[in-house]
């Protein structure tokens, strides 16, 4: 399970292939760490890395087949094309050959056997991986166009931006996800960390991943789920152990109560915001939208559709459709003044 590739005997082969892949896919070099392009050829976690290894193997085999067959085809086309003087005669008529046909049936069968054994091994290795003692459990709930994250053991609820501790050889740290959906099918996909797994209503799925380097890994929903499927983005932050501990500590607190923004807080409760959103420590306990208790600890809002800035927030609350057309939060028809108050309040929720 611990397929640390650097020890692999064939890292040379890998490197050469990677180099090829890299030149091919310009910025998809095999980088150590998170990238703005979530390339599956830049793995930064165990499952992604072992899939990457497998993919090189498969590329080598299929590439070999392609070179051989395409080469023969090209040869046939060049060598046996119609030439001057051929109009008057037919070539020798050949009907078949059991022996040759048998040979080119058996060779693919053997290739398939090898491919299958390799594939099966990795399926089992990833899917049935034994659970290490120290894991982080997270429950992921997909909603139309945003993600809800629960850390059941830590008592944390947050949205869209998942924080996990980084995994090192000294301190391996796997994250086990339970995946549910509140409405339609979604799919959890952070290419640099692991393959995707669907979130299906009335059905529980599990997957695991780990991150070998700290930083931000981007991904997004990979199963068409309606109008704003394109903007159901996903961010995973791999924190150092210290950062993670600090983050957990902050998240476990109830919301900050700042008397200066009393007006905004009241407005939040008076408008129907509280029917849909939870802010821990206030009467707002809605579950339809994201938990806003620590809204300011997130870098984006509306599942990555906009940066978390006061201006974007104002625009979002004034008219969610203008930021993310089709998002399921209604425009509340508030005055500019009310919006300013609300945003001032939300800006305090660290």
């Amino acid at each position: 399970m611990n397929a640390d590739r650097s020890t692999s005997r064939r890292s040379y082969l890998c490197r050469t292939l990677v180099l090829l892949a890299a030149t091919f896919a310009a910025h998809a070099a095999f980088a150590e760490g998170p990238q703005s392009t979530p390339s599956i050829f830049a793995p930064a976690g165990t499952p992604a890395a072992s899939i990457f290894d497998l993919s090189l193997f498969v590329i080598a085999i299929t590439g070999g087949i392609f070179v051989v067959v395409a080469g023969l085809l090209t040869y046939a086309i060049v060598r046996y094309r119609h030439k001057k003087g051929d109009e008057k005669s037919e070539p020798a008529q050949v009907y078949g050959s059991t022996q040759i046909e048998l040979a080119w049936t058996v060779v693919p069968v053997l290739i398939v056997v090898v491919l299958f054994l390799t594939t099966a091994r990795l399926i089992f290795a990833i899917q049935d991986a034994p659970r290490p003692k120290k894991t982080l459990d997270v429950t992921v709930i997909g909603h139309q166009f945003w993600w809800e994250f629960h850390y059941p053991k830590l008592g944390i609820v947050t949205a869209n931006e998942l924080h996990i501790p980084v995994s090192s050889n000294q301190q391996p740290q796997a994250v086990f996800l339970k995946l549910y959906s509140a409405d339609v099918d979604h799919s959890f996909w952070v290419p640099q960390l692991a393959g995707k797994t669907d979130l299906i209503p009335n059905n529980e799925n599990v997957m695991w991943m780990d991150a070998k380097h700290p930083g931000l890994y981007v991904g997004q929903c990979a199963q068409f789920c309606g109008v704003e499927h394109a903007k159901m983005l996903l961010r995973v932050y791999a924190d150092t152990p210290e950062e993670f501990a600090a983050w957990v500590k902050n998240q476990q607190q109830a919301a900050v109560v700042d008397p200066q923004v009393e007006a905004g807080r009241e407005l939040f409760a008076r408008q129907s915001c509280m029917n849909c959103h939870t802010i821990k420590g206030t009467p707002a306990t809605g579950h339809y939208g994201p938990d806003l208790t620590h809204l300011m600890s997130r870098e984006t809002i509306a599942a990555g559709a906009a940066p978390n800035t006061p201006a974007a927030m104002k625009e979002w609350i004034r008219d969610p459709d203008s930021v993310k057309p089709g998002a399921l939060m209604p425009a509340m028809h508030l005055t500019d003044g009310q919006i300013d108050q609300l945003v001032a309040y939300l800006e305090t929720l660290h």
């Binding site: 109009e87 005669s89 078949g96 050959s97 054994l117 390799t118 091994r121 089992f124």
Partner: protein
């Protein structure tokens, strides 16, 4: 076609089914019934009426007798001839007709595969006994490629008996041996000069080299524990035995002087036997 003679016996027209509106009407009716579900029930009702009309009309088209039209036939000569009058034959270095070349290559290949498969077990067992004092060791290593979910890859565990390991190993072993045997059966008669060198030594060495290169990905547990020397020995054992069996069963020595095309079993005029009467359909 001049050789086509006219033997009378024809009419001047041909019966063809008559054109009819009812299939369109019926299709339109059915479509409207469905469209009505999405739009307005009135459309479904209209569709229902058309459907009834269509069905009845259609029935009356075919019952009790199919309606048909007579189409007049006029005839002109058609010329079916090719400008390519000459047909080349496959060129052989030696002219003449050849005896059938294949003496059941499939069966001989399978036999070779089975023989080689059994022979190969011996060095593998010896290896198991010498290296780990257990005949289950090599079996489990191989079976691990199939079931793969070893959670405990300690030596002791691998040396113990596991029925899953045995089954997986047997299946993998049997399939590959049969397939490789089949391949030998098809290929060796084509390359008859040195069957033992080719099938017994060269192929296993290449095969082992290939596996050596990819085994880390196919099955890392296997790769870490495998002893390539022993592996090569058992491969060569297989190759020698299988190659020998195949070579002796398909009379390679007799084929040696035949042209390549014949050895490859290519079916082409001149290469094949011509007796049409003796040929049976079952070859197709």
């Amino acid at each position: 076609m001049s050789e086509q003679e006219n033997h009378g016996h024809h009419s001047d027209s041909i019966h063809l089914p008559a054109p009819t509106t009812w299939p369109v009407v019926l299709a339109f009716g059915l479509a409207l019934i469905f469209l009505g579900i999405v739009t307005n029930p009135a459309i479904s009702i209209l569709g229902g009426v058309l459907t009834v009309f269509g069905t009845v009309g259609w029935f009356r088209d075919v019952l009790p007798h199919e309606r048909h039209v007579d189409v007049e036939v006029e005839v002109m000569d058609l010329n079916i001839r090719s400008t390519r009058e000459r047909v080349a034959r496959m060129e052989l270095d030696k002219p003449g007709r050849y005896a059938p070349t294949e003496t059941y290559p499939i069966v001989s290949g399978i036999k070779g595969g089975i023989a080689g498969g059994f022979a190969m077990i011996i060095p593998a067992m010896i290896y198991g006994l010498i290296a780990q004092h257990s005949i289950w060791y090599p079996i489990n290593l191989m079976g691990g490629a199939g079931i793969a979910n070893w959670t405990d890859t300690s030596t002791a565990n691998i040396a113990a008996f596991h029925w899953q390991g045995l089954i997986a190993a047997s299946v993998i072993h049997a399939i590959t041996c049969l397939l490789v045997g089949l391949l030998y059966g098809a290929m060796l008669p084509m390359l008859p000069r040195h069957p033992i060198v080719l099938g017994g030594i060269l192929a296993p060495v290449l095969w082992t080299g290939l596996l050596h290169a990819v085994m880390n990905i196919v099955n890392p547990v296997f790769d870490q524990r495998i002893q390539w020397g022993w592996f090569l020995i058992s491969q060569v054992t297989f190759g020698l035995v299988a190659g020998w069996v195949v070579a002796h069963q398909s009379r390679i020595s007799a084929n040696r002087n035949l042209p390549l095309a014949v050895r490859m079993g290519i079916e082409s005029p001149g290469l094949m036997q011509h007796d049409h009467d003796e040929k049976s359909e079952d070859r197709h």
